[in-house]
């Protein structure tokens, strides 16, 4: 990826927009509290360098207005740029360890099981009821 693609000025603007999109709420931290404008933004853009141009164009369009005015105008006028800003914010946010912990999300990992365990549906009658209702398929029509 291309060094540091965004200037500090751009990062600060992104920070304010990201906090409007993802404010603190209850147990959930705000976007800037977990650093979506810092290392997480670098991680997002390393994974998705295709977002850089749209993100930068969106940030340029959002200068000089309140976050709500700017983002609503951007969503209507330039969906690609709005998508880049919102995806960079949410994509980074849900990668943050604090956020995943607050959600109870361990990430995509192994979930152990015993393939030889007897599933509940075999013992509680659920599958038996399906079988008792009989076949559903239409058999092959045989021609002589």
């Amino acid at each position: 990826m291309m060094g540091t693609p965004l200037s500090q000025d751009e990062r600060q603007l992104f920070k304010s927009l990201a906090d409007y999109l993802i404010p603190a709420s209850g147990k959930m931290p705000s976007a800037s509290a977990v650093g979506v404008h810092e290392a997480l933004l670098d991680s997002v853009l390393a994974a998705r360098p295709d977002l850089v141009d749209d993100l930068r164009r969106g940030l340029d369009a959002c200068r000089g207005s309140t976050a709500s005015e700017a983002l609503n105008a951007l969503m209507k006028a330039d969906g690609g740029a709005f998508q880049a800003i919102s995806l960079a914010a949410s994509g980074g946010y849900y990668m943050a360890a604090e956020v995943r912990s607050a959600l109870g999300y361990p990430g995509q990992g192994e979930a152990a099981y015993d393939p030889h365990d007897t599933p509940t549906y075999l013992t509680n009658g659920m599958i038996e009821r399906v079988v008792r209702r009989g076949t559903l398929y239409r058999p092959t029509i045989r021609t002589t």
């Binding site: 409007y20 999109l21 993802i22 404010p23 709420s25 209850g26 959930m28 991680s43 997002v44 390393a46 994974a47 998705r48 295709d50 709500s68 983002l71 609503n72 969503m75 709005f82 919102s86 995806l87 949410s90 994509g91 849900y94 990668m95 956020v99 995943r100 959600l103 109870g104 999300y105 990430g107 995509q108 990992g109 192994e110 979930a111 152990a112 099981y113 393939p115 030889h116 365990d117 599933p119 509940t120 549906y121 659920m126 599958i127 009821r129 399906v130 079988v131 209702r133 009989g134 076949t135 559903l136 398929y137 239409r138 058999p139 092959t140 029509i141």
Partner: protein
Amino acid sequence: MAKQAAPRRGEEVDVLIVGAGPSGAVVAKELSGAGLSVVCLEQGYNPDASDFPGKDPAFELLSQKNWHPNPNVRDMPRDYPVNTDDSDINPLMFAGVGGSTTLYAGHWTPFLPSDFQVRSQDGVAEDWPFTYEDLLPYLEEVEYAVGVSGLPGNPAYPPQRAFPTPALPIGKAGMKAAEGMDKLGWHWWPGTNAIPSLAWNGLNPCVRTGTCMTGCPEGAKSTANITYWPQAMRQGARLVTGARVREIEVDDRGLATGAVYIDDNGRERRQKARVVILCANGIGTPRLLLLSKSKQFPDGLANGSGLVGKRLMMHPFSAVMGVYEDPLDSWIGPFGQLIESFEFYETDEKRGFLRGAKWGAMPGGGPLGATSFVGSQIFKGDEPTVEDLWGENLHQMVERRFGHSLIWGIIGEDLPEEDNRVELDPEVTDTDGIAAPKLIYKVSQNSHDMLRFHVARLLEAVEAAGAIETNVVHQVPDTGWHLIGSCTMGNDPKRSVVNQWGQAHEVPNLYLMDASTFPTSGGVNPTATIMSVALRQARQLVAERRNQEAA
């Protein structure tokens, strides 16, 4: 097992296969095992499981671009672009060894008996030149190579041999989906998947990472690069990757002589063969035939019927999400169908449409996925505002949906129509300058009505299980996983491109052994049937090898 040295580059071989996906792999293993010399040209590469993004924290972001199933979105050099300006659905595929199974969900749902007799049973489309029972022995054999997991005895299907590995856990999400079906007295069954629960034929057992659709980093999803190609290569088949075929050549008698391809370094090469077999999917195969124009075949190779490229079917798709109060841990895999249903699969004319659909329940996915639904963000009202989806509403939505949702996907039968077709684009090309395909495809009224009916029934099912929120996406564009029927098979050369053995009516040493030849599409995920038909056809080619006409 036959063993022989792999053919040298440029050496004429018994058989050239184009495409190393599931059908090409089955054919390569079968023919090389019978002692034939085999070369396969594959435009992509052999995927490396360590490249798959499932364990990357940015997994969800990567799945939306670099590992997106739409080649136009992914836009990688080995992908060819597809002009979809005139198509309601975007085709999804992957260029590489294993083909689109690299990114498929592994739903293992063979066609049912009525799928082979749509004309006889429902008065539309055509019957296949063979029956479910003709194919069953090949299906059972393929299921053992693939390592299918499932519970035997599904009353949606005729009796058959048990699956080689036990069913995967259906998890809390699958049980919740099953609760609704149970209350309504509707059919459901634990999902049958091309994902083994035990180590099998080079595959590791599934550990439910839940990232099946961006390539399985555990090597536990059944893909032909693991289950078929190693043996084919041990038997002497030569697999050439990074080889993009431009044309199938013919001699003065109109027999195929081999292929011209562009290699990894941009050099044009020629592979000669006594028999040519195309396994390039329902878009790639007609594209290649249309590219192969000659004095004998001015409208494209084997296109005397005019049907090359026509009758494309792509399975229009809708989905229903159910959100529940109970925690469902719905980021856990497989992804993969947890449970399936064929309750409304067969035709009931009172519903106002013909044929039906299979349902498959899948988990809801990660938190970023919870902010959208099958790629579509859900806004309130006709004039959405940022605040509808973001701010406090974002937190509430993720809190409500994440880990608490399941998604039912509807695969509805797409009936063949000649206007739905693959052509060559006059302007767009791939990176080797070869004309790209252009799709002309409209979702039919029958499909539209079918999906509406199934969505309504599924809403009843998820609500019967106690859903606190439901969402529907109808006819999602990025769902053309199943590329079927553009070079149909049949007994009449005027009404079909190939016979039941995949042999072109006009070119006796040219075969098509992929889903392009399917006369109808079924209402199920087609990989099981693709591989079974390919095995049946390859075995026939071996049996008739001494009678095979060749250039």
